[in-house]
Every structure is written in structure tokens, then in C-alpha cells.
């Protein structure tokens, strides 16, 4: 079944204003952004638990809310499944009681059949008579999912569904959740502030910041072409830098930065041709900066955007080291006491003896310099 929903919500709270508008379709839409950006508030508006001041919410041609037309379906009539951050399982009911809670209007036999079916599909078969307090974190999550899915919702909402779990379980359940969601085929909106989680679970990512949507795009587009500096910062991207356009062509952009002229690939899907002298933001992923080995002859074709710098600081992250490089060109460093953060694998750090040798040539492939149009 093809799903289509559009969301337009305005809500004024003391000290916070939500004003968002986005659309999504089949699969999982992830609302991604920092805490307090309005993601959970949006979910509550979708579920009918909070009434927006203005806007319109339509799911598969069904109008759930329309301020102008005076439509506001109560949560009971929305057929929207909600998986709460804390799971909100009813502690006084069994697993079967929880999963069957939304099926009250069905006959007893049909309810039992549906509960058994849901428990089976979610691999909870043997736990029907347990209480939530007797379950592990992962089982609770599946019960919460099952309870919301049992009503065959038009839309499934998940609020930080993995945040109640500890790290190793979190990774495993992230992938399990993905397969459950795709297996079930229900359109879903999921909230998270963790980009890896957003990327793993999303088909489409909607980036929230301070009550507004700053980008809505398929997940790979967001990863490789963040729309703006604000999006890059919300994503936690490092080495977000500012330069000046030297020359722009449909496939390349040259940028003057810290005494160098860097060459970057222009976005293939955007026709962004800023005139010379335009200030421009861009970012360089630290793991894509390549150190030039001194013990090998230089293959110039392999190394573009070459620069020289000094390691002025470093942090040991176990399997990788983060180096802070200061360019040798004159002028103030742009990120505090350094210009560029570079990430190298632990092994490379040891082989190159970076702890002793602090002066390095390095290069950046033009495909690894990402322009951020404003």
C-alpha cells in the first residue's frame, strides 16, 4: 500500500515556537535534531495528544487535523500507533493484555487471534503471560511496538525508541527495529537525536532545529549534501569552514581558504554557481584527510589540495586518533588553535610515528570537500 502524509503544524508554547511543514511517504521518516527542537512535540500533535494552534495534518487522504476547517480528531479516532520513549507499558497487565489493549472493539476470539499473531511475528510467543517488569529492555521495546502495531495503525510514531537501552543492545536493536519496520510496511515517523541511528533507520530524514525544519531529504542526500551550515552543525559535522569563491563551474568550485586555493566538487544534483568573491561554507570529514608519507615518492596525481601543517594537539579515541593540525601558512588558525581536525587509524598513527614527527604534508580529494550552500 502506498502511503502519503503531509504535516503542517504551528504551536506556540511559553518560550518555544514550533512551526514546521514536511511531507513523507512509504517507509520511515526520521525527525532528527537536538533535544528541545520540537520533535516530540510534533509526534504528540500527530497523535492528537496536543492540539496545534494552526496547520493541517493529513494521512492517506484522511484529515486528522485542520485548524481552518475546525477538524481535530481525538487521539482515540486517529488510528495512530505511538511507541513512547519509556515504552509506557501497562505494568498491571500481561504482555498479551498490553498488546490486546487497543483491540477492545473486536470479538474475544478475533482479539486473541490477533494478539497471538502479533506476538508470533515479534518473537514474543512464550512471553504472553509475563508482566512488563519481568521483561528485558529489548523485549519491552518489542511489546511496545506490538501494542502499537496490533491496531493496524495508519501511521506509527516512535519517540527515541532506543534511548532506554544500553549501548551494545542499542546497536543490535537498531537493526532489529529496522527489519521489523520494513517487514511490517507501516508508514512510520521516528524521533532521534543520534545521527547514526537516524541514518540506519530512515528512508527520509527531516532535520529539526529550534522548532523549524532546516532540511528534509532522503538519507543519503542528507549525508553527502547537507543543505546548509546549520544542517552540518546539527549533524555534528567537524571541520565546518569558511572561504571565498574563486571560480565556480558546474562540476567544480575553487575556494580560497587560509592561503590555499582548494578545489571541491560541485554538487551534481544542484546547480550552484556562486560568483567569485562570494563567502562560502564547506566541510571536510576528518577521516578523509590523507597524510603524505615521507618514505614514499610522491604521486602527484593521487594528492590534490596539498597543504602542510603541524600537529598541535591530539586525542586518543582507542582505535582512531584525532589530530589537530595548524597550517604552516601565515595567519590565525580558524578553529581556535588549529585549522583542521584529521582522523587517522591507530595503526597508521603508530607506523608513521606521529607522536614524534609533528610536521606533515597532507592532501584532500576534491570529492571530500563538501560545499554548503546557504
Amino acid at each position: 500500500m502506498r502511503h502519503r502524509f503531509s504535516v503542517e503544524i504551528k504551536k506556540q508554547l511559553p518560550g518555544f515556537a514550533l512551526d514546521v511543514s514536511w511531507t513523507a511517504g512509504d517507509g520511515v521518516a526520521v525527525l532528527f535534531g537536538p533535544s528541545g527542537a520540537g520533535k516530540t512535540l510534533t509526534l504528540q500533535c500527530l497523535a492528537g495528544l496536543i492540539r496545534p494552534d494552526a496547520g493541517r495534518v493529513v494521512i492517506d487522504d484522511r484529515v486528522l487535523f485542520d485548524a481552518a476547517a475546525g477538524v481535530n480528531l481525538p487521539p482515540q479516532q486517529r488510528r495512530v500507533g505511538y511507541v513512547f520513549q519509556s515504552y509506557a507499558l501497562f505494568p498491571h497487565l500481561t504482555v498479551a493484555g498490553n498488546v490486546g489493549f487497543g483491540l477492545r472493539d473486536r470479538s474475544r476470539s478475533e482479539r486473541e487471534r490477533r494478539v497471538a499473531e502479533v506476538l508470533e511475528r515479534l518473537d514474543l510467543g512464550g512471553l504472553a503471560d509475563r508482566r512488563p517488569s519481568e521483561l528485558s529492555g529489548g523485549q519491552r521495546q518489542r511489546v511496545a511496538l506490538g501494542r502499537a502495531l496490533a491496531i493496524d495503525p495508519a501511521l506509527l510514531l516512535l519517540d527515541e525508541p532506543l534511548s532506554a537501552l544500553d549501548a551494545p543492545l542499542r546497536r543490535a536493536l537498531r537493526d532489529e527495529l529496522r527489519s521489523i519496520l520494513s517487514g511490517w510496511g507501516t508508514a512510520a515517523v521516528l524521533v532521534t537525536h543520534d545521527f547514526t541511528e537516524a541514518y540506519r533507520l530512515a528512508d527520509r530524514i527531516i532535520v529539526y532545529e529550534n522548532g523549524r525544519v532546516i532540511q528534509a531529504a532522503p538519507r543519503s542526500e542528507l549525508l553527502w549534501q547537507p543543505a546548509s551550515e546549520a544542517v552540518a552543525r546539527v549533524m555534528g559535522l567537524r571541520n565546518v569552514l569558511h572561504g571565498v569563491v574563486v571560480k565556480s563551474m558546474p562540476d567544480r568550485i575553487q575556494i580560497a581558504w587560509r592561503g590555499h586555493t582548494l578545489e571541491a566538487v560541485n554538487s551534481p544534483t544542484r546547480t550552484y554557481l556562486p560568483p567569485p568573491e562570494t563567502p562560502i561554507a564547506f566541510f571536510i570529514r576528518p577521516e578523509y584527510v590523507r597524510l603524505v608519507r615521507k618514505d614514499r615518492s610522491l604521486d602527484a596525481a593521487h594528492h590534490m589540495n596539498r597543504m602542510r601543517g603541524t600537529v598541535v594537539g591530539e586525542t586518543d579515541f582507542g582505535t582512531v586518533w584525532s589530530l589537530r593540525l595548524r597550517l604552516d601558512t601565515p595567519g590565525e588558525p580558524v578553529q581556535g588553535d588549529f585549522d583542521l581536525e584529521v582522523e587517522v587509524p591507530h595503526l597508521v598513527y603508530e607506523i608513521l610515528e606521529i607522536d614524534r614527527d609533528r610536521q606533515w604534508d597532507f592532501s584532500i580529494h576534491r570529492g571530500s570537500i563538501h560545499v554548503l550552500p546557504t
Binding site: 497523535a47 495528544l49 481525538p74 495512530v80 505511538y82 509506557a88 487497543g102
Partner: protein
């Protein structure tokens, strides 16, 4: 045990049970409303319900006379119409005990209801339950321990009610003389054996109630 003592004990138990039932009927919905709804006059309702907890029982009793007595705001018209007044009947003892016990139930039950996670109620809404059904199926069952504790307190309070009962129901042997009133009368008239008997009976009854309540509470968790 003398006939009077036995009838006092029987009356006390009847009054306390009736007052507890009335408390449950009035107090639990009231506690829910105070915990979960905001409405005009909520603070006033809270104040009026709580007042008997801090006022001297005789003052509460006096207000009850003003309200329900033969010339009271409510009692007056009823008397004029029917020639009957609730004052000095065993119903009056029930009303006095109910009013005195109500704040104990309402406060305890309200705190228990407020401590129920609101997300559970929201979850019930998204699963199709009305607020009314949610209260019955989620909120009140989860607040059960607190509500039971409140009912036990209310029962114990009703059993021991003295001042307000004396004001509104009087001290009519066999009719409105509950155990606390009978103890007072016995001590005043020097019938110490009777007094001791009733004191022990009331103590035993109170202990029984507390033990039963403890069992109930333990089972509910």
C-alpha cells in the same frame, strides 16, 4: 458486655462501613478530578474538602448543623416539607463521619493518582480508550494501593469520630451513641468496666483493620 455497649459497637461498625462506602463513592471521583482535571473552583473544592482535617471537630459539627439542622440551609426546607430532620438520627452520625474522613481518603488517593505516569494514560488514548475508560482501566488500578490505604484511613477515622458526631447526631443511647461516645459517657458516669471493655474492643477492631490493610497492600504490589 452490656446491651448498651453491644449496641454501641454494632452502631459504630455500621456507621463506619456506611461512611467508608460514601467516601469511596464521593472521594475517589473527587480525588481523580483534583489530580487530573483543572476546572474553575478547584482550589475552593480542595480547601473545603481538606478543612475538616484542621478544624476542631466541633467546628465542623457546627457547620453541619448550620447546613443540615432543623433550621439549616438544607435541613430547614426539608423539615418544612416533610417534618423530618436528619439531625439526631444514625444517618447524621454517618454524615459526620463521612465528612471527617473524606480529606484522609481524598488526599491519599489524589497523591496516588498523581503519581501514575501520564504517558500510560496517553498510550491508552492512542489505543482508543476514552478518558473515562482510561481512568477505570489504567489510572485507578495503578493507584489502587494508595486508594485502599486511603479507604482504610477513612474507615479508622469514621470508627473513632466523636466531636462532629456529638454535634449533629447527639448522644442518644441505642440510636446515635457510637463507641467513642459510649466510652465518654461511661467514664463520665464512673462505669469503668464498661469503658475498659469498649476501649479494648475499639483497639482490637482498629488493629484488625490495620492488619487487613497491610495484607491487602502487600498483595497489590
Amino acid at each position: 458486655m452490656s446491651l448498651d455497649a453491644a449496641s454501641a459497637l454494632g452502631l459504630s461498625i455500621r456507621v463506619a462501613i456506611a461512611a467508608t462506602v460514601l467516601n469511596a463513592l464521593i472521594g475517589i471521583p473527587l480525588a481523580y478530578l483534583l489530580a487530573r482535571r483543572s476546572f474553575r473552583g478547584r482550589a475552593l473544592v480542595d480547601l473545603v474538602v481538606t478543612l475538616p482535617l484542621v478544624l476542631p471537630p466541633t467546628v465542623t459539627g457546627y457547620y453541619l448543623i448550620v447546613l443540615l439542622g432543623r433550621r439549616g440551609w438544607l435541613g430547614g426546607p426539608v423539615y418544612a416539607l416533610t417534618g423530618w430532620s436528619v439531625a439526631f438520627t444514625w444517618y447524621a452520625a454517618v454524615i459526620a463521619a463521612t465528612v471527617m474522613a473524606l480529606p484522609l481518603l481524598v488526599r491519599t488517593a489524589r497523591a496516588a493518582i498523581e503519581s501514575v505516569d501520564r504517558e500510560l494514560e496517553k498510550a491508552a488514548f492512542t489505543l482508543g480508550r476514552s478518558e473515562w475508560r482510561t481512568a477505570l482501566e489504567v489510572t485507578l488500578p495503578l493507584a489502587r494501593n494508595g486508594i485502599v490505604a486511603g479507604l482504610v484511613l477513612a474507615f479508622a477515622r469514621a470508627l473513632g469520630e466523636f466531636g462532629a458526631t456529638l454535634m449533629l447526631a447527639g448522644n442518644i443511647p441505642g440510636k446515635t451513641t457510637t463507641v467513642p461516645l459510649a466510652i465518654y459517657t461511661a467514664v463520665q458516669t464512673g462505669e469503668m468496666n464498661e469503658a475498659i471493655l469498649l476501649v479494648l474492643a475499639l483497639t482490637a477492631l482498629s488493629c484488625l483493620v490495620l492488619v487487613l490493610a497491610g495484607r491487602l497492600g502487600a498483595r497489590a504490589t
